[in-house]
Amino acid sequence: MSEHILSKNDEPGNKVIITVLGQDKVGIIAGVSTILADNNVNILDISQTILQDIFTMVMVCDIRNCRVDLGTLKEKLEVKGREIGLQIQVQHEDVFKFMHRI
């Protein structure tokens, strides 16, 4: 059960999950993490794997001190994704916790 949604102050939590899908190539991590560093987003965990022939990278990030709001960060990463031909998504961690954990 997510503590964020149930918290009294109803503030959303600070963790987001960034997923990158597509063809593996040089510089994916560098490209994404540069944007994150520029905006003061802390990377907590990275894992990458090949799922059904698709390169899949999942990052757990802390956006507590992020310089821009989530919408803007999302936009920046999506632009980067289009530039390097990959699909980049940013979603709040609660989505996944809520769906898979009670």
Binding site: I5, P12, L51, K74, Q89, F98, H100
Partner: protein, 452 residues
């Protein structure tokens, strides 16, 4: 810690299997808007709706962005207008539909429900005025939805209301003949109507509801279909288990979005409606789920049993996922909004009679059915009476949303576009029910109603 597989499963559900939140519906009580002067009342209604719902659409979009889950519709339901307008000194309620339309346009929602009346045991003066206004109100507005409850298990079936609704549906179709009778797609005739349903066209804010509330309707036939297709060779127990697990995950998203919307808007969270609501998108089809279970076409023998299993498993999984379940909560089988249903009708697998049988085991009823334009008001009333009987005797909600498409005959199509989709015109029984429908009065409540 979440596994990569779990994260990818969620992403696949949204991107490939059309998982979305079908609607966030804000219920608003208009009980404090009554006034003897219709203009004053109109202003009060407009101000209240635009005040409470001013952030609804923006909040919905914000949640969509944060969680990456599409929220297809943001909508509003209000207290039945027949109740609010009763003390008003006007005979023409169409003006209130216009107020609702204007308020809905102002806050940016695509539908507003509640041009409604509850007449299961009889009519008040306000009810009669509202019914009279329905055809013109729906023809003259784009977003306003209307519903009328004509029967309950406790009261029986108000056959006077049933007959009136047959005539009103014909009139509404005639007024929107150039759009294939579009007004009828925004009009639902109910038995045992729920007061907290977030889905249109039948949503209204019930009289036992709070001042303002957020209700959520999930969707996800595509997700269930894929799960069922993967469970190809398993027996029924395992199949039900697969559907339950999937429904649980889908409903959790509704619960999350409902709680987030409620917190952001400062409005209490009402319910999650567990209905599987199909869309015209390929694969997002309830018929396809049934076919995935092993039926060559939806509508063939076995369809009712398959639907019963699906509906029950969805409820069992969904009930575990949400703290408050309500609304209609069952699989929808609207013909025009489900590509698989349309195909089944086109290929002669699915008839009106089979659809009626299917409504015995799922929500909601004969939904978005197009019938020939020359179908009489009496026949439409008799179709409504049959559905109401199923609802009343089985203590469940049933409804009829039927379009007697002007100038169309069996095999033609009506085209509404968008979520309302397109529907093949289906044949009705050619024998008359006129003398039966015209008897008048009320069919008494069944023995099942004596539960005290």
């Amino acid at each position: 810690m979440l596994s990569v597989q779990e994260i990818m499963e969620t992403i696949r559900m949204v991107q490939q299997e059309n998982l979305d939140i079908r609607t966030i519906t804000m219920g608003i009580s208009l009980r404090d808007c009554s006034h003897s002067d219709s203009r004053v009342m109109g202003t009060k209604i407009y101000d209240k709706i635009t005040g409470l719902a001013s952030h609804l659409v923006r909040t919905g979009e914000e949640i969509e962005r944060e969680y990456g889950i599409p929220i297809v519709n943001k909508r509003i339901s209000v207290t039945p207008i027949s109740i609010i307008a009763e003390s008003c000194e006007t005979d023409d309620y169409v003006c209130f539909a216009e107020v609702l339309e204007k308020a809905a346009a102002e806050v940016g929602v695509n539908f507003i429900g509640g041009f409604s009346a509850l007449v299961h045991k009889g009519f008040t003066k306000g009810d009669l005025k509202l019914l009279k206004a329905i055809p013109e109100a729906l023809a003259g507005t784009e977003r306003v939805c209307s519903s009328v409850n004509v029967a309950t298990t406790k009261a029986g079936i108000n056959m006077d209301a049933v007959y009136q609704m047959g005539k009103i549906i014909k009139e509404a179709a005639a007024l929107t003949a150039r759009e294939d009778g579009l007004a009828c797609a925004k009009l639902v005739v109910f038995a045992n109507v729920p007061e907290d349903n977030p889905f249109m066209a039948g949503a209204f804010h019930g009289i036992g509801e709070p001042e303002c509330v957020i209700n959520v309707g999930v969707s996800g036939p595509g997700v269930v279909k894929n799960a069922v297709e993967k469970a190809k060779d398993v027996d029924f127990g395992s199949l039900a288990e697969t559907i339950k697990r999937t429904a649980f995950k889908v409903t959790r998203m509704g619960e999350l979005v409902g709680r987030a919307a409620s917190a952001k808007l400062g409005v209490p969270f009402g319910i999650v409606d567990l209905s599987l609501a199909p869309t015209p998108a390929v694969g997002d089809s309830v018929a396809a789920i049934l076919e995935g279970m092993g039926l060559e076409r939806c509508g063939t023998h076995g369809t009712t049993a398959a639907l019963a299993l699906l509906n029950d498993a969805v409820k069992k999984g969904g009930a575990m996922a949400s703290s408050y379940v309500g609304g209609l909560s069952g699989a929808f089988i609207p013909v025009s909004e489900d590509a698989g249903m349309i195909r089944a009708v086109e290929e002669g697998a699915l008839s009106l009679d089979k659809l009626e049988a299917m409504t015995c085991v799922c929500s909601v009823g004969l939904d978005m059915i197009a019938v020939p334009g020359d179908t009489s008001a009496e026949t439409i009333s008799a179709i409504i009476a049959d559905e109401a009987a199923i609802g009343v005797v089985n203590q469940k909600t049933t409804a009829v949303r039927i379009i007697p498409a002007p100038g169309k005959k069996e095999g033609d199509y009506v085209e509404f576009g968008g979520l309302l989709g397109r529907a093949p015109v289906m044949a009705v029984n050619k024998y008359s029910s006129s003398a039966f429908v015209k008897r008048g009065g009320r069919i008494p409540a069944p023995i099942q109603s004596l539960r005290n």
